[in-house]
């Protein structure tokens, strides 16, 4: 066999197998960003995706129920009821009027089932070099 062919096969095997693995990993972990207003317009499979939604916590809406925390997220004039059932304690910065980012899926009952909640007070400083996104994500590994 010519050496170019051997190299071609070697390179091809690596590239193709990595592309396959990438595709598998993509399917497993893709998460859609949506605004609260967009959620209402989603239908069918689009509504079943893993999603990440941001908004402001409605004052007085946080209720601790056994095993979960319920709250309402506001954004663009719309509201979204959320149930947080994750294991990690909610961050201290998760309070009324804080900005929160939730990750999870839409439940069949119309409540958003959040697995992760990240929160940040309307803050006076901005994030640091090198660590910008994590600095305000004390609970999640994003």
């Amino acid at each position: 066999m010519k050496k170019q062919v051997k190299f071609g096969i070697g390179i091809g095997v690596i590239v193709v197998s990595m592309a396959c693995l990438a595709w598998l990993g993509y399917g497993e972990s893709k998460t859609y960003y949506h605004t609260i207003a967009e959620l209402e317009t989603l239908h069918g499979s689009a509504a079943a995706h893993r999603m990440r939604v941001g908004g402001t916590v409605e004052p007085g809406s946080i209720h601790h129920v056994s095993g979960r925390t319920d709250f309402v997220l506001l954004g663009e004039g719309k509201s979204l009821s959320v149930s947080y059932t994750g294991n990690d304690p909610l961050p201290d910065s998760f309070i009324d009027n804080s900005q929160a980012l939730i990750e999870g899926r839409m439940g069949s009952d119309g409540r958003f089932q959040a697995e992760h909640v990240q929160a940040k007070c309307a803050s006076k400083y901005e994030a640091a070099p090198g660590e910008a996104p994590k600095s305000s994500a004390p609970t999640g590994r994003s």
């Binding site: 693995l21 990690d88 980012l101 803050s123 006076k124 994030a127 070099p129 910008a132 996104p133």
Partner: protein
Amino acid sequence: MDVFGSFALLLAFVCALYALVGGIAAIATRHPLLIKSTRQAGMAACVLIFLATFSVVYLFVTDSFSISYVVSHSNRDLATFFKVVALWSGQEGSLLFWCFLLSIYIFSVLIAYRNKHGELMPYVGTILAGVQLFFLTISNFVTSPFKLLAVANASGALEYYTRPDGSGLNPVLQYPEMIIHPPNLYSGYTGFTIPFAFALAALLARYPGEKWIHLTRKWTMIAWCFQTVGILLGAHWAYAVLGWGGYWGWDPVENASFLPWLTGTAFLHSVMMQEKRGMMKVWNVWLVFITFMLCILGTLLTRSGVVSSVHAFAQSNIGSWFVGFLAVTLAVCLFAYFKNRDYLKSENQLDSIVSRESSFLFNNLVLLVACIAILSGTLFPVFSEWFTGNRISVGTPFFNKVNVPLGLLLLFLTGVGPLLAWRKTSAESLKRNFLWPTIAGVVGAVIVIALGARDFYAIVCFLLSTFVAATIAVEYYRGAKVIRVRSNLNWLSSAVELTLRNTRRYGGYIVHVGIVMIFVGLAGQAFNQEVQKEIGIGGTAKIGPYELLLQALDQKQEKNYVAERMIVEVMKDHKPVMILFPERRNFPTNQESGTMVAIYSTLREDLYVVYAGVNQGSEVPTIHVFLNPLVKWVWYGGIVVVMGTIVALVTPRHAVLVLSGAKEQTQAKGLRTTLPSSVTVREGHD
């Protein structure tokens, strides 16, 4: 001081502009005085940037709360060294700091080569001035760190005013690593500008031969070393501060720092092909171009929050400037490439698939594929929004699925590559070099399986790690044996002597040992355990062989924060081992809180204890305990990598015996070609 600083910065801009425009004129006219004056303008720009940077530090240390940047990132009670560090805690300061570090490199280059390489240096100086000019434009006109606070008075006119105190520094940054992590990472980012400038200059000037590679080898290695340390310090910071029990989460910012490291590593390896065999010239030039562009992209991702995976809290207007700069850089590189393509013609071809060349080729392929996978995963939200209108992100499974096998393949090549001969390796030499390492690898794998490892990748990783370590040990043993016989030294002195005689090769091996240690640490993740529990005083949590007893909770008032502490007694086999104090810190100035993880770290495993918070319903504190095996190997591996790089930077003590023999031989036969001495006799040399 703010007037002084901003004026210095403005003057630096003017100098850099002159160095760029004058530099182009100097290249065209070759007028010696013009060449000299542009070089001096370049040096002056650097000095002015130093002054501007020092004045920002001065403003922080003197609590100048009339400056917007100081107000947002400092307060009176902040410890003085954190006030100095606050320079790089925000966007304006970080970009100035980037410029500052770049100027240190530029200044050193302009001084070091002021009377050398007359054909090349005007190009180099001009390119460097161009890069500097971009950052000066940003610092002067887009995000200046010298902006003053102003409010509208009763009549609506703006007035300057001074705040009584600042808003404080982000608590997660108030940690020792933050003092050394960004300077390291930024020194890496900026350092790659030097090989980039030389490569581009050599291409534009059609500078003969591989000289630019020899000239930039040390600069590239210094930048690479800083980048490595910067990435590891960032990982350690994340591990010790963020409290999720891991050190790498494929966050866009982490990825951004990893991308130029991958291409930089590929470059460090593939230049050897060009030095020894005159191959891969196009590839090398483009690797260096891409590394530089990835450094700029990394700075952009870090600073602009374009693809911030968590959220888009920190948006900024500098994105388009960076994209513009990247486009200009790419255009210049393409222009230079198409203009002087013939200059990069390869002198040799690949001879065999089992050869050193081939191992370098696959090493580069693996690093590049990893780079492309990480880059596309990182930028996925941006691209998916462009093409489908939906912003989609990918997470850890995507990155791990691709990068774990690639990493293992790379580890395999780390062991195999250095022992293959250039051009073609015989079956006999394969057997001689790899028999014992292969046996060692299999034994290593059997041992970890016996110890209970079941994860496929982890087993393969241990197998390969033992294999690579054994190949290096065999290499050392062989070399040291020769020296021992000739000079009657003991084994240790022989090994040291061996290293000093060929620092490049053995320094490289030491770096590889460090990388193997890092891989061992990474494989340890397969055995991580964690327990999260609400725990009252007197309550216990069990993990692995450890039992944790919450003895008490207390509060500690510090100058800048209040610490709530858990006092946790750690017991192993019912015997007390130590007491840990995981903390939560509340910073009254900005009403933020931070975690301070307590870690009991040994070479075997880390016991990692987090005071995770208080259940907001039941008011019971939550403890989060992780048992992470082998984490320390990652940090120690990093130290070994640095030591190896330093060794490789040292000039060898003696001429290498084999080499001098080789030269005589080729000269005697009259076989001198454009290649530096015969390649076959140099078998096994880097």
